[in-house]
Amino acid sequence: MAGLVTAVTLAEKGATVTVHEAGPRIGSGASWFAGGMLAPWCEAESAPEEVTRDSLDSLQWWADHVPDMARNGSLVVAPPRDQVELARFGRRTSHFETIDDRKISELEPDLAGRFDKALFFAGEGHVDPRLALQRLEQRLLNLGGIVRFGTTQSAASFDWVVDCTGMDARDIEPGLRGVRGEMILVRCPEMRLHRPVRMLHPRIPIYIVPRENNIFMAGATMVESDDNRAITVRAMSELLNALYTLHPAFAEAEIIEANAGIRPSYSDNVPRVHCEGRRITVNGMYRHGFLLSPARAAEVGRVIFPATT
């Protein structure tokens, strides 16, 4: 996804771009399993300041490129016994409003009576990652870009090569490590949410992101491991519990997908761009792929087109 955002950004600046995708389709990497939250202020809870700073323009970038992007903000809640986590989250973040149960039920009628208090980050948004990838691919093709599947090798010569291969670059990218994440998709016709909900818990912070057709994504675990086997029972039960805690109606939901992915990460968990001659690397997106790709792509743009801004 970092690759596609970079490709579109460069094509919009006038470059002739060819994308080489190792997989059989767009979205064969970690981004396929992403939450798609565009939450610069919520992320400040655990991410360094530069993540929030660099991601502020992202929302607009996504709004310009993915018309289906939702900009309804995000809600942060905690089960009654974990209220101190809510206070802690509030101390670490900004640009939110503390709201009571009445305001919660105005924003999310289906959550009426579930929580006494929530933090509402009105300025945040979210996209459906899979839909967003399709939109970007289409945009690239419209700009005259080419997408090739099944290999990252090419016989043709290019002026610049931008390596956005994520974990595939682990052998040539010192310091790159994998952080495993697990997610599930459920369909719950009884529930309707308008924005991502983060459920705080001292051991397993989880978010639930609504998608089209009553589908909800629940994610995501964080395991210091690059083990890419299928989702574990432990992870699945944690995610299911979080859904059930958010609303008992989820007990009747249908589990339509359960997956695991590996997030490419540097030691500070901040995505980086670096150049060696005419080869540029964009990697370490960690869990900030959607949030920071536009900013990192803009950095690549400034390297390749230094005269323009």
């Binding site: 802690r88 491991s225 690059d226 500070d268």
Partner: protein
């Protein structure tokens, strides 16, 4: 503190979980200068060495590593995890945790004693995470442990030393055994109290990792350990029920008003 014949450079042990990033962990370790760092093995990834990158990072901290069996609920799980840890970190030290109750993460002391016995027989140097119960402590020592790690309060709760009476009794009962307060310490003041009660070391993780500024908190704990240890070595005064003037009243000048 001496642990199984090894003198630790500091009486502070620091856990490596829950940090926002490995970079924050490394900076916190630098500030805390701990005598050892603990690290847990995810059992599901250990087999394929999939956690390698993180473990490499922990080894790179250049602090003695005390692997733990966090998240194990049975004797068998704990023993298997300890064996994996020995291979991965090339150490016979193991912090033994066998959890018996999910909500309070309370140790299953029956399984703990059993696992401690098996591991000791296999040549491990066991650091058992236990309660302040004297009888359990006795059994652990009999099982071969030469050190005890009673909890202050449930893991991650930050409640400090819940049962000061019990901890004092445990300390008094086994004066020669090195003892580490493990779990529950939330603030540097709790750490100072632990040393004042005569404990030899403390183990913390959440208190640093989840502080607003983990690096400053790591330093605060380093200083607290120093303060606590100095104070306990200085033989603090006893409490009294009545005031004792620090200036003798006899011979004091008296001014009529």
């Amino acid at each position: 503190m001496r642990a199984y014949g090894t003198e630790l450079a500091s009486p502070l042990m620091l856990g490596t979980a829950l940090y926002d990033s490995p970079a924050v962990l490394a900076a916190s370790v630098k500030a805390a200068r701990p005598g050892a760092v603990t690290v847990s093995l995810r059992r599901e990834s250990a087999g394929e060495q999939a956690g390698q990158a993180f473990w490499e990072l922990v080894r790179g901290l250049e602090v003695p590593v005390l692997p733990n069996t966090a998240g194990c609920h049975t004797v068998r799980e704990a023993v298997t995890t300890a064996q994996m840890a020995r291979e991965v970190f090339d150490t016979d030290w193991i912090k033994l945790e066998v959890i018996g109750q999910g909500d309070l993460l309370q140790p299953d002391v029956f399984a703990l004693v059993e696992a401690a016995r098996i591991l000791t027989e296999e040549g491990f140097k066991v650091f058992p995470y236990t309660t302040e119960d004297l009888v359990v402590a006795e059994r652990l020592l009999r099982a071969g442990c030469e050190l005890l790690m009673p909890w202050g309060a449930p893991i991650g709760s930050g409640r400090g030393l819940n049962n000061v009476f019990g901890l004092r009794a445990l300390r008094a009962h086994f004066p020669e055994i090195p003892m580490v307060i493990d779990a529950g310490i939330g603030r540097p003041s709790h750490a100072v109290t632990a040393f004042e009660l005569g404990y030899d070391a403390i183990l913390i993780n959440t208190a640093v990792a989840k502080a607003g500024d983990p690096v400053s908190m790591a330093e605060a704990f380093r200083l607290a350990c120093e303060v606590g240890r100095l104070a306990s070595e200085a033989d603090p005064m006893e409490e009294r029920d009545m005031a004792v003037p620090s200036t003798p009243t006899l011979g004091k000048a008296v001014f009529a008003s």
